[in-house]
């Protein structure tokens, strides 16, 4: 135990120990209490006096052997100059009388005596030489006469250990009585043994002491001979291991947790979690915490009986003696070892600083900008030729969807087609980049990465307050073409800026977008789980690094040691959990007002006024009620408790105790009371945001195996070591609300020198224009990720990005102005054979519209999309009842929108984690529980069913038909033509129109459809076309 306390990194354990002193048993370390203490971060400094009393209970093992008595002259038989040899007296207070008693003794001829008439605190003392960290027992025989004390009477104690090492005390009259105390010497080598009289107080009367004894309590296992030890292993330990451990840890076909227990060497080397037995201090052994079910629960099928646990504990204490060599399983080579951070691994391509590559010379005349030079340089080597340019109809559609996620109208298509000017394309791009709908499209890509959702998942899946402001912030930032470095800094540390703006605060809602279990099994573990989610999202989204894989052990594939994970975590160490339980805790931990100071003052005044109004009104009402109450019968008092009944009770007395005027007033005031309740001053604007526990950083430790209760080494903030990063520059914030650590992290991520940030972001921009990233694994630039198909192009784009002040719109334009972007997507047999998956961009990649684009397009082509209303609270499209029935409270938190509100763009659809909108889900919207860098792209019959049978599609087809009938009444051919031109964004050919007309005629002739219904069904057909859902 003392050794445990000695380790400084276990100071909290020591705090725990002091609080739990009485119940304390090393192996019964209670996780729950531990959690409580660290969770609330109680900082109790302890005086590091390591010597503490142990209750050496018999359950600790076999009976202990006793060492020799280390008290010299224990029975006071040697007397020199009238004093017992080696003994001295100590007076702590009062007037004691010390004597050598010669008239009687318990043994031998003499003993010692202390007495006092007026009161004393005093002792006969003997200086002991002790072994440190050793258990001892001190005992004595005491006789008393008429002892009285303000505190303790006669007893023994160890002076330096004070109250923690004292025997029972005797008062009154006692014959010779043996008292004793057991203690551990801790770090000390010397202790003063006291025979005290009146300890911690003042005693009167007489006390005699004799036959002192202090003996070492020798642990029998420690005095075993080598042979005894191996026999102990063979007979006692090995059978336990064989029966319970070997199957998974050495003799079975699989090694669990990397731990082999069938030989001593491997056992001490340990598995993924470290050595099974800690030879420095056996009590820290994972084997022991596992069999005691403290974190691991081993064996998992049921806890071992106490005697077997004791055997294992004794064995560990002995240093795990073994007999023979043991066995070592033949292991299939796992293929790789964990990569270390070294000069070799540091050479990985994405860890190198971006250097601007030289732009290759133009190869063909068809190139338009540098991108094409890079692309064609590779193509030439592969014998590939780029596709010709796509038609203008294809291009305008591609540009519209890629930049604003909406289809062009027939008029816009015509205008572009007719614009013969050489810069028609450039003008189109500029126009779309300036569109306010650009942010609605590209914001969604970002929201996928940061797993944006508006509820918390789990049992309640409650709504996140004000989270929509974060969504608006993202859209607005993109529309404003905010430099990406700023965008990063605002989200990670906007609140740590000097005088943060309301936007800065809203941006930090970034930390609050994840899941939140408001009723976790362990709050402490839940904090780490939440932060892991933040690390995963931050590492992958901003840096393309899977730092999250190093939470429980060193990263198995990338050179990211576990320590780097916790160093990274330390930047977030003071971040408060989203909430503890209940809405108010969320307000405390994650919501701040973003109103101006003036507004805040105004608001306070309004609230005050409102409260006064209520009080005044109540007072006036009470005055009238008082009159009325005078002649209440008992039942009326009861009735009066119901507020709604009061007015009648008052009315009954009009003309009696109450005048008509009084009643009229009362009625007015009743109404006013209701109004006052209903119309409160408008609340101050607030935002969901990050908050820290304060500016003083809490220590961060490696958590062994990712277990929140298993502390390892302490770590300091630092960036992933394989990147050879600079030291973080940390400055606490001016307001003292937070550590400033997140700002240090944000600045490093947003730095031009960061090898990953710019590469990762330009790659994402490329991904959403060209269908895949230059690095296909867009959130993993590590060893496991894909290599860039065009590394030089990627680096050139990254350097362009930072050189252009991190402006995103500029990058769009750069990419879209290339010939590579403007290519046709048509197949080409030769190229398909050479490069079937288009690794070298010889053609443009076709793509299906996203879920949002499909829904928005349906609404756009039928002319009902409410695209003017942007921002604000989310919308709730109708979810079919059969789906709502799946909720435990059907319909809860889903406030179905209606009218134009329901027709807003899909980026405004509320995202409830447990209730995805089925139409959107079937078209692969991102699952909001985790960061989504690339969406799935499925084709499945549920999509077909939704597209032809859903209420939504059938309703929208009807709206479409009504629009066509209104615009082009009585002209079916034109109606079909316009419908197709709106859906396909090109002029339909004759046979396409003809086919539509034929269908309508057939429906009218043979299926009893009237004109309206026939047109509606044709509209439905048109919205189901592949050409509508796919872009060339």
């Amino acid at each position: 135990m003392s050794a445990l306390l000695q380790l400084s990194w276990r100071v909290i354990a020591a705090v725990f120990f002091l609080l739990q002193y009485k119940q304390y048993r090393m192996r019964n370390f209670k996780r729950s209490s531990f959690v409580f203490i660290t969770l609330f971060g109680i900082a109790i400094s302890i005086h590091a006096d390591d010597s503490v009393v142990t209750k050496l209970s018999s359950s600790d093992g076999p009976k202990r052997k006793l060492g020799p008595n280390i008290v010299k002259n224990p029975s006071f038989e040697q007397i020199e100059n009238g004093k017992p040899t080696g003994w001295k007296t100590s007076t702590w207070g009062g007037e004691p009388k010390y004597e050598v008693e010669r008239s009687f003794a318990r043994t031998g001829a003499t003993c010692v005596k202390i007495s006092s008439a007026s009161g004393a605190n005093s002792s006969w003392s003997f200086p002991l030489t002790v072994k440190p960290k050793t258990d001892y027992r001190a005992s004595a025989w005491i006789k008393t006469s008429n002892v009285d004390s303000t505190n303790y009477g006669a007893q023994i104690n160890l002076h330096e250990l004070q109250l923690r090492a004292k025997s029972d005390s005797l008062k009154g009259d006692n014959g010779w009585t043996r008292i004793s105390v057991e203690f551990n010497s801790g770090d000390r080598t010397a202790l003063l043994l006291n025979c005290t009289f009146g300890g911690w107080g003042s005693a009167t009367g007489e006390a005699w002491f004799d036959d002192l004894e202090v003996v070492e309590l020798i642990d029998p296992v420690l005095v075993m001979t080598v042979d005894e030890k191996t026999e102990f292993f063979e007979k006692k330990v090995k059978p336990i291991l064989e029966k319970n451990c070997f199957e998974c840890h050495g003799s079975g076909d699989e090694i669990r947790g990397g731990l082999i227990m069938t030989n001593r060497e491997d056992l001490l080397k340990g598995g993924d979690s470290g050595p099974a037995i800690d030879l420095r201090d056996y009590k820290d052994s994972i084997l022991l915490s596992a069999v005691n079910y403290e974190d691991y629960e081993m064996p998992p099928t049921g806890q071992l009986p106490a005697d077997q646990i004791q055997i294992l504990s004794d064995w560990a204490k002995l240093g795990a003696p073994w007999k023979g060599k043991g066995t070592r399983p033949k292991l299939a080579d796992s293929g790789h070892s964990v990569p270390e951070v070294n000069e070799e691994t540091k050479k990985w391509w994405s860890y190198q600083k971006v250097t601007r590559p030289e732009v290759p010379a133009a190869i063909t005349a068809k190139t338009k900008n540098e991108i094409d030079y890079f692309i064609q340089q590779v193509q030439v080597g592969k014998g590939l030729k780029p596709n010709p340019s796509a038609t203008k109809e294809v291009l305008i559609r591609r540009a519209y969807y890629d930049l604003i996620g909406l289809p062009p109208s027939p008029e816009q298509v015509a205008a572009f087609k007719n614009d013969q000017s050489p810069d028609a394309w450039e003008k189109l791009i500029d126009e779309l980049l300036a569109s306010k709908h650009y942010g609605e499209k590209w914001g969604r890509h970002w929201l996928d990465l940061v797993r944006f959702a508006e509820s918390n998942s789990y049992e309640r899946d409650g709504p996140k307050p004000f989270v929509w402001r974060y969504r608006d912030y993202v859209i607005q930032s993109l529309n404003d073409d905010k430099p990406y470095d700023q965008f990063v800094i605002e989200q990670l540390a906007g609140d740590e800026k000097n005088e943060p703006s309301r936007e800065d605060i809203i941006a930090t809602g970034y930390y609050r977008l994840g899941k939140w279990d408001d009723e976790p099994v362990s709050q402490l573990q839940a904090w780490y789980d939440d932060m892991d989610d933040v690390i995963l999202t931050t590492g992958q989204s901003f840096l393309g690094m899977t730092i999250n894989c190093a939470r429980c052990h060193d990263h198995k594939i990338d050179p990211i040691p576990q320590a780097d994970y916790y160093s990274f975590l330390s930047f977030f160490r003071n971040v408060k959990r989203y909430g503890v339980r209940g809405h108010n805790t969320v307000l405390d931990s994650s919501v701040r007002t973003i109103a101006s100071k003036e507004d805040a003052i105004k608001y306070q005044a309004e609230v005050k006024k409102h409260q006064e109004d209520i009080a005044d009104n109540n007072k006036a009402m009470a005055a009238i009620e008082k009159i009325a109450k005078k002649d209440f019968i008992p039942v009326e008092f009861e009735e009066f408790k119901n507020e709604n009944r009061r007015i009648d009770l008052v009315k009954k007395r009009v003309g009696k105790s109450i005048t008509q005027k009084q009643f009229d007033d009362y009625r007015e005031m009743t109404k006013r009371k209701r109004d006052l309740r209903r119309f409160k001053p408008a609340a101050l604007e607030s935002a969901l945001c990050v908050k820290e526990t304060g500016s003083k950083p809490t220590d961060t430790f490696i958590m062994i195996r990712g277990n929140a209760n298993a502390k390892g080494e302490k770590v300091e903030p630092s960036f992933p070591s394989v990147l050879s990063p600079p030291e973080p520059k940390i400055k606490p914030t001016a307001e003292g609300l937070s550590t400033g650590r997140r700002m240090a992290l944000a600045k490093w991520i947003a730095s031009k020198d960061n090898p990953l940030t710019a590469r990762v972001m330009v790659n994402r921009i490329w991904q959403h224009h060209f269908g895949r990233g230059i690095v296909k694994s867009t959130s993993d630039f590590g060893f496991q990720g894909d290599l860039p198909t065009h590394p030089k192009l990627l680096d050139w784009l990254a350097s362009e990005f930072t050189a252009g002040d991190w402006k995103i719109k500029r990058m769009h334009k750069l990419m879209m102005m290339s010939a590579t972007y403007q290519m046709s997507s048509a197949p080409n047999e030769v190229a398909l054979k050479a490069d079937p998956v288009n690794d070298y961009f010889w053609r443009f990649n076709m793509r299906r519209l996203t879920a949002e684009e499909i829904r928005d397009s349906v609404l756009a082509v039928n002319h009902s999309l409410n695209k003017e209303k942007m921002y604000g609270q989310s919308i709730y499209p109708k979810i079919p009842n059969e789906i709502l029935q799946g909720q435990s409270r059907p319909g809860e938190h889903w406030h179905t929108s209606s009218g134009p509100e329901a027709d807003r763009r899909s980026v405004y659809i509320s995202i409830k984690r447990s209730l995805p909108v089925p139409f959107m889900a079937s078209f692969d919207v991102a699952d909001p529980d985790s960061s989504c860098p690339v969406r799935f792209n499925t084709v499945q019959p549920t999509q077909a069913l939704a597209m032809i049978n859903s209420e939504f599609m059938n309703e929208e087809a009807k709206v479409f038909a009504e629009y066509l009938q209104k615009e082009i009444p009585g002209n079916p051919s034109e109606q079909v033509s316009v419908a197709l031109s709106r859906v396909l964004q090109r002029m339909p050919n004759k046979s396409e129109v003809e086919r539509g007309l034929q269908l309508m005629n057939e429906l009218k002739t043979n299926d009893k459809a009237d004109d309206r219904e026939a047109l509606r069904l044709f509209c439905l057909v048109s919205l189901n076309l592949n050409e509508f859902l796919f872009l060339d």
């Binding site: 789990y458 099994v521 197949p827 998956v837 079919p880 692969d924 499945q940 019959p941 999509q943 796919f1030």
Partner: protein
């Protein structure tokens, strides 16, 4: 076809043809070989533009079971009042006892015993003790294997439900049924491979999260099957007959076939054309599958369709059998919905609560076992019974019989699908407060279910977020050998 690889080396083709397996889809063929992960990524290197994905996937080793029917007793049935006989508790009602418990009311060190409120009797050749709550199920104990030593990581509904369904207490992972369909595909492409049926009182806590595909494509999530009205969302044409719809589809296909002419190598377009035909077939198949009119009166009676209490769950059990007959891989039925006493969550009046829910389910469950046996389907259909946790032996409040949640020990049972009958494994202590012998974590049940389906849980992986994810977690889990015949 555009790019072949997606994030983390997953192949786009893998997701494109979920259509192949009907609703829930198929994964790559050959993915369950010994070198499963290598195959998963290697397959991405081929670029066949068209592959018939309709065939069900091979299992790793011969499967015992073809389908699973998971009877989910939502809310947490009390093990000591049903199948975990605790004679030591008898006569000790209201005694205070030292016992560590952890439920929604937090950690406690002592409590007041609530003696089981139902009488136990021995049944069958195995002499299994079963309480009077399940007189009909008791007739089949020799076909059932009970696990009395279940443990879970959370005693809170939200996270415990997630764990029983997805293995993890954290939200976001695919459910057991999703894994089964990911691993095995579906043999009937005209029906969903994973269906869920809910209690009439509503869904369970967390709703659709309990049958979601998590980080897998949504195609692997369960389809909610209703026993009344249209069985599946958007299954039926709206406002038009089937013949008219055929005409609409023909028109769509004509346009689409013209469109694909110049884009012949794009398999997404072809897949989408095919998906309409599949959808059309499903419109005919699914209603037939839920049509009970061809079932005999005796069958309906056996399932309790004439009994007001048992009718709803009975019909669902009968539907489950019909689904399984038609090749559906995974059926989950919830007993209990909504909150509190609308499910097995007996915090208040234990007697009232369990009488109600056992009364609704006992006869249908027994009928299901009997019916599967009579039809020769029992051996290849794995029936699983259990809730997200059990209940404590002591009272939750100072008064009354309500029991709080208990994840330290509880009972589940399995039957059919190659599971031994008439056995009980594992033990709780004499109070039933915690498992003490042969403890089995939820993951062990999952591993057992997968094993019976011919899949080794430790080898069924899905690469996501930088990790090879498994249903049974990074540490893995083995099946419970003692249950397997």
């Amino acid at each position: 076809m555009t790019d072949k690889k997606n994030f983390c080396g997953r192949m786009r083709r893998e997701f494109m043809w979920q259509a192949g397996g009907g609703f829930a889809g198929t994964a790559l063929s050959g993915m369950l070989g010994d070198n499963f992960f290598a195959n998963q990524t290697q397959a991405a290197d081929t670029d066949e533009t068209w592959e018939n994905p309709l065939a069900p996937k091979k299992t790793q080793f011969p499967a015992k079971a073809k389908s699973v029917i998971f009877l989910f007793m939502y809310g947490g049935p009390s093990h000591i009042d049903t199948f975990d006989y605790k004679p030591d508790l008898i006569g000790r009602d209201n005694q205070t006892v030292k016992v560590k418990t952890f439920g929604r009311g937090g950690h406690k060190n002592e409590g007041r015993i609530v003696e089981p409120r139902w009488k136990f009797k021995q049944h069958g050749e195995s002499g299994k003790w079963v309480s009077s709550l399940f007189p009909n199920v008791a007739q089949h104990v020799d076909d059932i294997a009970f696990v009395h030593s279940m443990t879970a990581d959370s005693p809170i509904h939200g996270s415990a439900m997630l764990q029983m369904n997805s293995g993890e207490i954290l939200s976001g992972s695919p459910c057991l049924g999703s894994w089964v369909n990911y691993g095995l595909g579906s043999v009937n492409q005209n029906l969903p491979g994973f269906v869920v049926m809910l209690d009439k009182r509503g869904g369970p806590i967390s709703g659709p999260k309990n049958w979601s595909a998590g980080y897998m494509p949504a195609s692997y999530q369960a389809t909610m099957l209703r026993s009344k009205g249209t069985p599946i969302l958007d299954l039926q044409p709206r406002g038009v007959g089937r013949a008219t719809q055929r005409k609409l589809l023909d028109a769509i296909q004509k346009y689409n076939k013209e469109h694909i002419l110049d884009r012949g190598n794009n398999s997404d377009l072809a897949a989408r054309i095919a998906s309409y035909e599949l959808a059309y077939k499903m419109q005919a198949t699914a209603p037939e599958a839920v049509d009970l009119s061809k079932e005999t009166a005796a069958t309906k009676k056996m399932y309790g369709l004439e009994d007001r209490n048992a009718e709803y769950f009975g019909k669902q059990c009968l539907l489950a059998r019909r689904m399984v007959e038609r090749g559906v891989r995974f059926v989950q039925i919830y007993s209990g919905g909504n909150h509190n006493d609308a499910n097995w969550d007996a915090h208040g009046d234990l007697k009232h609560n369990h009488d109600l829910h056992a009364g609704e389910t006992d006869q249908p469950i027994a009928a299901l076992i009997k019916d599967l046996k009579a039809r020769g389907m029992f051996d290849e259909t794995l029936v699983v019974w259990g809730g997200e946790f059990g209940r404590q032996p002591t009272a939750e409040y100072a008064k009354g019989t309500g029991r709080d949640h208990n994840a330290y020990g509880f009972t589940m049972f399995m039957a059919g699908g190659g599971i031994k009958g008439g056995v009980s494994v594992g033990k709780t202590d004499e109070l039933g407060s915690k498992a003490i012998e042969d403890r089995f974590h939820v993951r062990r049940i999952h591993a057992t279910i997968l094993h019976q389906m011919g899949i080794e849980a430790n080898k069924l992986t899905y690469f996501f977020g930088g990790l090879d994810r498994k249903l049974v977690g990074v540490e893995g889990a083995k099946p419970i050998d003692k249950l397997i015949s």
